[in-house]
Each structure stands twice: as C-alpha cells, then as structure tokens.
Subunit: 225 residues, 2 copies
DNA sequence: ATTATCTATAGATCTATAGATAATGC
DNA sequence: ATTATCTATAGATCTATAGATAATGC
C-alpha cells in the first residue's frame, strides 16, 4: 500500500501533497474536498486532518514546491552571453512548471483570499519572476540579440510576457471549450511560447531576426476549429 | 420595497440578476450562494427558485447582458478612417464592461465547466472579440497609423492584446494582494490600457509615434509598493 | 511513550422541492 | 385562474474534532 518514490517509502504527508496536486490538476481545486483526497488515498479523513490543519495548508505546501521549482528554473547562469536559444529554454522550463501546477493559476484569486501567507508569498514570487524576465531581456540586449530600449519599456514588456505566460492555459481551456476533444496537453500549452516570441519580435536585432522567425514557426499553435 | 430603475418598477427576475451581479462582483461568485442572494433581497429562497432553476441560470443571464454590452461597444463605425484616439476609446469602453462584470473572468473556467450553453457562447464571444481587435488593427493600418504587417502577425498581436485586457484585473488583484489597501478601482483597471499601448508601440508609424507616447503616459499606472 | 490511524459524529451549510398562502389580472 | 411568494424541510455534503485503537521507536 505504500507509494514508493526513488527507493524511499514516502511519508504520509508527502503522499497527501502529491495526491492533492494530482486531483487539483485533474478536477480543479474547487471540486476537490478533503474527503475526496482522503478517499483517493484509501485513508480516513481523520488521518488527513492529523497531518494537515485544513485544505488551505495543503495548498500552501504545494505552492512552496511550485515556487522552488520555478525559482530554480529561473536561476540565471554566470555572466556569459545570453542567446535566443537560452531564452526559449527558460520559456520551456517555465511552461513545464506551469503545467505541473496548472490548478494553481486557475483559482489563484480565491486561493490568495483564503490565506494571508500565500498572498504575501505569491506577491513576492510574482515580483521575483518579473525581475527575472527583466534581467533576461537586459542580458539579451547586452549580447546584441535585442535592440537597446528604455528601462520603462523593458519592465512593461516583461509584464506583458508574464501576462501571456501565466494566462495561456486559461485561454486554451476557454477558447477550446466546447470542442469535442477538450483536453489540453503539455505540448499545446507550449504554443504559448509562440505568443511570447511575437511579443519580442519587433525588438530583435536585424542579424538575429531570421533565426527567431524560424524558432517561432516551431511553436506555431495548431489552428483552432 | 420595490427597486425602481428609470421610472419603471423592476421585475423580480431583474432584481435577482442585478443583486447577483453586485454580490458576485463584490464577494466573488464562489462565495455567493442562492441563499445569500435571496437574503440580500429580503426574499425567500423558494421565491428565487421560482424565477431561476439554479445559480448557473442566473449566471448565464448575466453573461448574456455582458455579451450584449461588449458587442455593442465593439460595433465599428462606417468606413471612416480610424485614429489612435478611436482605438483608445474602444479600450476605455471594453475596460468599463470588464469592470461591471468583473466577477466573470475570475471564475471563468469553473463557470464554463458548469454550463454547456455558456461554454459554447463564450467561445464564440471570444472569437468575435478577437476578430474585432483584428479589424481595428487592420483599419489602423489602412489609415496609416500602424505600419503594414502580415495577417499572421495581426492575429497573434490581437491575441496578446486580448490576453492583456482580460487578465489585467487578475494581475492587479494578485500583485497588489497583501497591501494594506487592497481595493482595486475602475481607474486602476484602466491602467491596463498602458499595457496595450506598449504592445502596439513598435508598430506605430513614425508620424504618429509622439502622439501615442503622450497618450501612453496618461495611462501610466501608479507605481506598486 | 509517541506517533499514526480509524470510527463516529456534531454542526454548519447549501440546493431544490412540495405544499400552503397571498396577490394580481381579467 | 394565474402568478408570485413564503414556510418548512429532506437530502446531500463538507469540515473538523473527540476519543479509541493500532503501530512504531527506544
């Protein structure tokens, strides 16, 4: 009955976190109660409450994992020149994270309303991510991939990139909704990279434009309808 | 006890819709039950259920109003030249609509999961809005405000504009969350126009750039923190 | 001894309906 | 007669806890 993970018997607490994440992603946090989580683990609700005070606490722990993952993905390397390939690699990683914790942004506002810690932490997390995007853009300027531009501009650009990234999933879900095959896959999610490249395209230096255009085509989304 | 609106006594059905919209916007749809709506109107739950089969039906009617409003805002005029001022006016209008029905996008995915009609209608609504944005951009090209660009590009741009517009509220709520004064106002929402102008800026024709830069400053958001 | 788990349940909602009663429109 | 409203309530959850029991670690 014990779930194994990398040769180690998982602690019940971790099993609860993992099962919750799976259920949240699959059914939506709103549709998953502590009862469901316990039942899914063949465990009594009483036991679940022995390990967590409530659902909010489970969600907070999941957020901490998500935060660690994305912070890790966005750790920039030394001071070497940044290429457009690096940038796309960062995007791939971030979309991977977004996929693994996709329940989170769906009910974000409600979740933040429920938990002050999460509210504070998430706010700082957002600012940190945005700062990372700014840094990446500035490094691309430095290596000549992106043309020089004012700081104000870089910040506003970074924000638009952030908006596109974090809401791409919701767009896919709602714009595809009603289709026969309404399932979104990780690969479909990555077509969001196309949107980000479109955002950056006007600022790509002449010498790099062809390469970026080719990259863009790689992520072109399958046409809707 | 009868609510009056423009000299006409409102029908109970309309009172329910209006009260629901107010409560949803203020407290979030998830936190508002049919009981709350009835209580807020000093009405029995039984009476509410006489007028609506359930909450989903109330929400659908609210959506129809929202849809009508935005469709109306996006009705483009004859074939006269489109200026950048026109474009900003459309943005102002759309953000007005977004503000009045701001509960809607917050729980959009859940709401669409609950109601097939809404799913289908919303999908068509999205496509219609995106088409309107494309048309506006093309008209701006025609009148020389925006430089010529490929159709593919215009579509992808329109999508990024749509993402920025519809998710600006959520960004404000979550990025400002935790502040002492966490209340978002309609004027703050309109700082989203700044983001849209940033998106369009690289494509503005030389002769119009100064005017657009001035317009942009008008919508510069108050600095966070 | 301490930690983990289960059983059982109180208390709080919420949804949706049945059935009675009041108000309204010809 | 028809439409609108209220009262009362069944049935379905869900959260969170108390208290008993089992398993584990020195």
């Amino acid at each position: 009955m014990s779930v194994r993970f990398k040769w180690v018997v998982m602690k019940t607490k971790d099993k609860i976190i993992l099962a919750s994440l799976d259920l949240f992603n699959e059914k939506g946090e709103r549709n998953v109660t502590t009862n469901h989580i316990a039942a899914h683990l063949n465990m009594s609700p009483g036991n679940l409450y022995y390990h967590f005070r409530n659902k909010t606490d489970i969600i907070y722990e999941i957020f901490l994992q998500y935060e660690m993952l994305v912070d890790h993905y966005l750790r920039l390397p030394s001071n070497s020149d940044l290429t457009i390939e690096h940038m796309v690699f960062y995007l791939e990683s971030v979309f991977d994270g977004l996929w693994s914790y996709r329940f989170f942004h769906r009910d974000l506002e409600y979740l933040l309303d429920c938990d002050q810690r999460l509210r504070r932490d998430y706010r700082e997390f957002t600012m940190r991510c945005m700062q990372s995007i700014v840094t990446i853009l500035k490094r691309l300027q430095k290596s000549g991939v992106i043309v020089p531009m004012e700081d104000d501009f870089v910040s506003a650009m970074a924000l638009n990139v952030w908006l596109a990234i974090t809401n791409w999933m919701a767009f896919l879900k709602t714009a595809h909704a009603g289709e026969e095959n309404n399932v979104i896959t990780k690969d479909m999610l990555k077509s969001g990279i196309y949107q980000v490249i479109i955002l950056e395209l006007p600022y790509i230096a002449e010498g790099h434009k062809d390469k970026v255009l080719t990259l863009k085509e790689k992520y072109r989304p399958q046409p809707f309808v």
